[in-house]
Amino acid sequence: MAITETRPAAVPVPLSTLPRGASATVCHQPQCCADCELLNAMGMTDRCKVRVCRRGNPLIVQVASTRLGLSSAMAAHIQVYPDVSAE
């Protein structure tokens, strides 16, 4: 996926804090969480786009055409840059 120009130069926030419907760009630090490798392999790679489909615990995010159910504890470890345009 191409990186869109909506990426703001703001500080990253945890994925778990995004409101429903918000889009964001993932910013992975290597080994950010125990299942980092798996998340990567499931499509949630560095700089990929995510959209929050459901908030709460567990939450649902969409990455490309994959929907992932994540516990909020895990989402708290994933840093994202929220899209300004989507908010």
Binding site: A2, N40, R54, S65, R67
Partner: protein
């Protein structure tokens, strides 16, 4: 979409001359349609194979062609060959030939989802770098087309250095072409990213996708609003649970109501076959063994086949729609309170048919302790083998009170589920401590279920079940039958007296005479039972079960069903009447009226309630213990399961008995 697959001109072909049997490993991400493709290619020419020493189950099938036979192994779906997960490491070993119990495949058939190419390319690039010639099947092209995606397979094939065939496993499009291309898999010599570097690979994939895919592949495609709305309902904290409860109630209602007709038919058939064999062979030990041992054993198991068939069919349909993943999502919160992960939900659900497939399906649970806890508690859930015992006991407890009986039936299921949850809670706080793995669960897109897949899955599962009935259970029944029949003893003198009396009365009072003869038979059978190995064991073990309110006859019933619960009903029938077939109404009445040696009623209210509690909780199933051992890799867990479950059953059954007695119920 390009119609034909192409093969890069300069790439070396690995198989100019194919051997007569060519082995393909079927590899791909979860939910890419591997099994659907496998079923389309192999149909019923397949079998489930357990790979020894691994926690993985895969299906092997064959495709006979004119000049060649393809052998296909449907490997479990996974997200990458280098991940620290059981499926991943198994697939890696399998491809590299390090796995000792199966030959190295000759080539790999990678299934990729055309609607999610960027993610699927990660595994594709890893798979074609395993040193094996490969073919890529680009599946779900029907969906991709509907979403307006166009994929240039020639271009993709050129970039990855392997043939790429667009197919739809669902509709069958492209399958002939795939079979043609499968004759010439190619070992890729293209420049590919380092397979161990996920980031590099995903960067590579992101560069390729725009080259090969046209149309809308961005976040927020047309389908999303429907999926969003369905997800909002199915995963809603309140509505989600309501929908879930409704679906499960419907599921069980259908199983129990639809299954009764075929179950009655099966019982009837076996009764006839038994009679037929009984008349055909000369009376004697062989005849008895065949009819009372082998046939009774098979009948007692096969009777549950309709329920199992229905359960697996409906589970497969539900899974295919994508709903089950949402149910697991909803249940995650509840199960997690008790220390179980959401993924435990499907195994625990299928444990209501039989704990064996349930324990096998815990392989999908990633965390080690999570998986152990699920295996440990799964047999608490009321499997269909308990149903005959419930029917008998509840029938005795609540005669002519159908509503209360229904509630009691539900109560048994609830008691089992509660025991499972509480046990898990206790274990996760003590010996299985440690963080439970946080949930990462892919929620597949909603799809119309494939009846073909459901039928094949059901067929496969039923065969596994029947194989168990044909082996373990028959063996148990033969041994039990033998221990119940031997050593043979002479009839007590009173039997001869009764028979002589009957002979005298034969002319004047034929009815009384007939009654006397029946009584004589019963006394003889009871005496033989009491003096048999089983009876002797019953008398020895009686003190153990006395606190639960059981006499020696019930003790024999419990002991004989140690290996398989459903045996209890037929054992009781044999003991109290000297006649097989506890399902027969008249026999059931006689069980209800059976007496103890002291003349009191055998099944008092307190005893029946205590038996019911005992059978809900006790681990009375050898095959389950064997599967626990295999899945956990040690007898330790199987032993713990036996001791814990039966111990809990014993204590709670005793409590039930005494509380009822103290409160004046005898």
């Amino acid at each position: 979409m390009t119609a034909n697959a192409t093969k890069p001109a300069d790439a070396p072909s690995a198989a100019e001359i194919l051997p007569s049997r060519f082995r393909y490993a079927l590899l791909g991400n979860p939910n890419t349609g591997k099994t659907t493709l496998f079923n389309r290619l192999c149909g019923v020419r397949s079998k489930t194979a357990n790979f020894p020493g691994s926690t993985v189950e895969a299906r092997i099938g064959v495709i006979p062609r004119r000049d060649i036979t393809f052998e296909i192994v449907d490997l479990p779906g996974h997200y990458g060959l280098n991940l620290d997960r059981p499926e991943s490491s198994f697939c890696k070993q399998f491809l590299s030939g390090e796995y000792a119990h199966a030959p190295t495949p000759d080539a790999v058939l990678v299934v990729a989802d055309a609607t999610n190419l960027s993610r699927n390319l990660l595994l594709v690039s890893q798979a074609i770098q395993q040193g094996l010639p490969a073919v890529v099947a680009l599946n779900m092209t029907d969906l991709a087309q509907r979403r307006g995606l166009t994929i240039d397979t020639d271009k993709l094939s050129e970039v990855i250095g392997c043939p790429v065939v667009p197919i739809s496993a669902r509709t069958g499009d492209g399958i002939d072409e795939l079979l043609r291309v499968m004759r010439t898999p190619i070992l890729s010599s293209a420049a590919l990213p380092n397979p161990t570097d996920v980031q590099e690979t995903s960067n590579w994939a992101e560069q390729i996708v725009p080259l090969c895919v046209g149309g809308d592949d961005a976040v927020g495609s047309a389908n999303d609003s429907v999926t969003d709305r369905l997800d909002a309902a199915f995963t809603h904290p309140v509505l989600g649970i309501v929908v879930f409860a409704a679906i499960m109630t419907g599921l069980f209602y259908t199983i129990f109501s639809l299954a009764t007709v075929p179950m009655d038919l099966i019982e009837l058939t076996f009764a006839h076959v038994g009679q037929w064999i009984g008349n055909l062979l000369p009376a004697g030990a062989i005849n008895d063994m065949l009819v009372d041992g082998v046939l009774a054993g098979i009948a007692g198991t096969v009777v549950f086949l309709p329920q199992i068939v229905l359960l697996f069919f409906m589970l497969s349909v539900l899974e295919d729609t994508g709903y089950l993943a949402r149910a697991a999502f909803v249940m995650d919160k509840l199960l997690r309170r008790f220390g179980l992960p959401g993924q435990a939900f499907v195994p625990l659900l299928s444990a209501h048919a039989c704990a064996i497939p349930a324990i096998m399906s815990t392989r999908l649970i990633p965390g080690h302790n999570d998986r152990l806890a699920t295996i440990f508690v799964a047999p608490f859930l009321s499997c269909s083998a308990r149903v005959p015992v419930y029917v008998l006991m509840i029938g005795i407890l609540f005669t002519d009170q159908p509503l209360v009986a229904g509630i009691a039936f539900t109560g048994c299921y609830v008691l089992g589920a509660l025991a499972a949850l509480v046990t898990s809670l206790v274990f996760r706080r003590t010996i299985l401590r440690g963080p439970s793995t946080p949930m990462i669960l892919e929620l597949p897109t909603y799809k119309l279920p494939s009846i073909r897949t459901a039928l094949l899955t059901t067929y496969d599962r039923s065969l596994v079940f029947l194989r168990k009935a044909g082996t373990v259970i028959v063996a148990i029944c033969i041994v039990l039958w033998w221990m119940g029949e031997y050593p043979r003893v002479d009839a007590p003198p009173e039997v001869a007296t009764m028979r002589a009396e009957a002979e005298q009365l034969a002319h004047e009072q034929p009815e009384t005479a007939a009654q006397l003869l029946v009584q004589a038979d019963e006394v003889e059978a009871q005496n033989a039972k009491a003096k048999s190995f089983v009876g002797r064991i019953g008398h020895i073990a009686e003190p153990v079960f006395e606190p639960l309110g059981y006499d020696w006859q019930l003790t024999v019933g419990v002991l004989s069903s140690l290996l398989a619960r459903e045996v209890f009903v037929s054992t009781m029938a044999v003991i109290v009447t000297g006649e097989e077939d506890g399902e027969d109404e008249a026999v059931r009445e006689r069980i209800v009226a059976a007496k103890r040696d002291d003349g009191g009623l055998l099944f008092t209210t307190a005893t029946s309630a205590s038996l019911l509690v005992y059978y809900v909780l006790a681990m009375q199933c050898l095959p389950t213990l064997a599967v626990t051992r295999r899945e956990t890799g040690s007898w330790k867990w199987a032993g713990a399961q036996l001791v814990y479950m039966t111990g809990l059953a014993y204590v709670l059954a005793m409590l039930t008995f005494y509380v009822l007695r103290w409160s004046g119920v005898s």
